[in-house]
């Protein structure tokens, strides 16, 4: 155990989005940063369970905005998400209504 493999910062940045969210409304589009959408000053304040492991997790990440969004508005995301294999491009057209993977009946978290 004392000579175990030493992994540091292995999870830093994993599950964190980088890019831009766009709120599409009848009066026009509004671009927001991921931190603005999450309502956080920094990713250091983001709880582990709000990190993104699958596209459906964006719903939980943006829950604050999705819950207050008008029915006719839509939230999209374009950018990348950190994974253990590097950053993966991610584009989601309707964040608040991402289809859940098979076997997930309830909310994304």
């Amino acid at each position: 155990m004392m000579l175990r493999e030493w992994r540091m910062f292995a999870g830093a940045g994993v599950g964190l989005p980088q890019g831009q969210f766009t709120v599409h409304r009848a009066v026009g589009a509004v671009i927001m940063s991921p931190l603005e959408v999450a309502g956080l000053p920094s990713y250091l304040a983001l709880p582990i369970d709000r990190r993104i492991a699958a596209p459906a997790d964006l719903r939980a990440f943006a829950a604050r905005l999705c819950d207050s969004l008008h029915e006719t508005a839509r939230l999209s995301f374009e950018g990348s998400v950190g994974t253990h294999e590097g950053r993966q491009a991610l584009t989601v057209d309707d964040v608040c209504h991402v289809p859940l993977p098979a076997g997930h009946g309830g909310p994304s978290r």
Binding site: M2, L3, R4, E5, W6, R7, M8, F9, A10, A12, G13, V14, L16, Q18, S33, P34, L35, L40, P41, S42, Y43, L44, P47, I48, G82, H84, E85, G86, R87
Partner: protein, 283 residues
């Protein structure tokens, strides 16, 4: 030749003896670090159950005993058991955020080894009380003892540097991607956000870190290099501390560098600093 090398290694390791002052200094500094890391989270106003309050009370009692050196080895054993409880029960099993971290594991291993060492023979209330009640100073245990635990702490440092470098020896780290992810985590929304897209700087930083860590894994054990190698290691940890949210990790590593120093030189240095040059010749 091999037998001579084995004998030298045993003399350096399992049979090592010397001044216990570095162990005393490590005990005091690690107690302060443990306080700084957990004191706020275990204060009574945070307690949501009688069990948590009891854990907090045990933490403050044992860590204070460790700090002042009262029943020093027992106190270190108590703190080590508590740290194991924090990491494995509360961290891994109950999911307390951050309590599974590598820097808590490092504290746990170091304090466990201190518990097996004569760390109470120097700079401790135990020694003060023994001197106060003894008829003659000769009745008191000298500041001298077995140092195999100090050698194990030194080996832990070497293992840490080696395995963290192995973990980083892959394209994702060396290309700067993992460093970029660490910076996204740390700097998004801050004044240093441009660091996230620092281009060629990220792979350069990544390669430098890996090279320095492989170098330190072995160089810290080469006595004639030590005067140059230790400042490099201290600088590396200072940079980690100001660039990344490493919590108590950098401070712990800097304190553990005491395990790499010649204990008798540390003893004589403290004597010289206190103006006890005569005493310095006793070792």
């Amino acid at each position: 030749m091999a037998r001579e090398r084995a004998a030298e290694f045993m003399h350096w390791g399992a049979d090592a003896q010397g001044s216990t002052r570095p162990l005393g200094l490590m005990r005091i500094a690690l107690a302060v670090i443990v306080f700084a890391r957990f004191g706020s989270e275990l204060s009574f106003y945070q307690g949501d159950s009688p069990a948590f309050l009891l854990l907090g009370a045990a933490f403050f009692v044992f860590s204070t005993m460790m700090l002042v050196g009262y029943m020093a080895e027992t106190a270190c054993a108590g703190v080590a058991i508590l740290l194991a409880t924090f990491q494995f029960h509360l961290g891994y099993m109950r999911g307390f955020p951050g309590w599974t971290s590598h820097h808590i594991y490092l504290l746990l291993v170091s304090v466990s080894l201190l518990a097996l060492s004569p760390c109470g023979r120097s700079l401790s209330l135990d020694r003060y009380r023994a001197l106060a009640t003894a008829q003659s100073p000769r009745e008191v245990s000298p500041e001298y003892g077995d140092l195999w635990t100090q050698r194990l702490i030194a080996l832990q440092l070497g293992a840490l540097y080696f395995w963290t470098a192995v973990d980083k020896t892959n394209w994702h780290f060396l290309s700067g991607q993992r460093l970029q992810e660490a910076f996204i985590w740390s700097y998004s929304g801050s004044a240093l956000e441009p660091l996230i897209s620092a281009g060629a700087l990220l792979p350069m930083l990544a390669v430098t870190v890996v090279v320095v860590e492989y170098f330190l894994a072995f160089a810290i054990f080469v006595r004639r290099w030590r005067a140059r190698v230790l400042p490099i290691g201290l600088a590396l940890h200072a940079v980690f501390y100001v660039l990344l949210p490493v919590s108590t990790y950098s401070a712990t590593m800097m304190v553990l560098y005491l395990a790499l120093l010649d204990p008798d030189e540390v003893h004589r240095f403290i004597d010289r600093m206190l103006g006890h040059d005569d005493a310095a010749h006793r070792l």
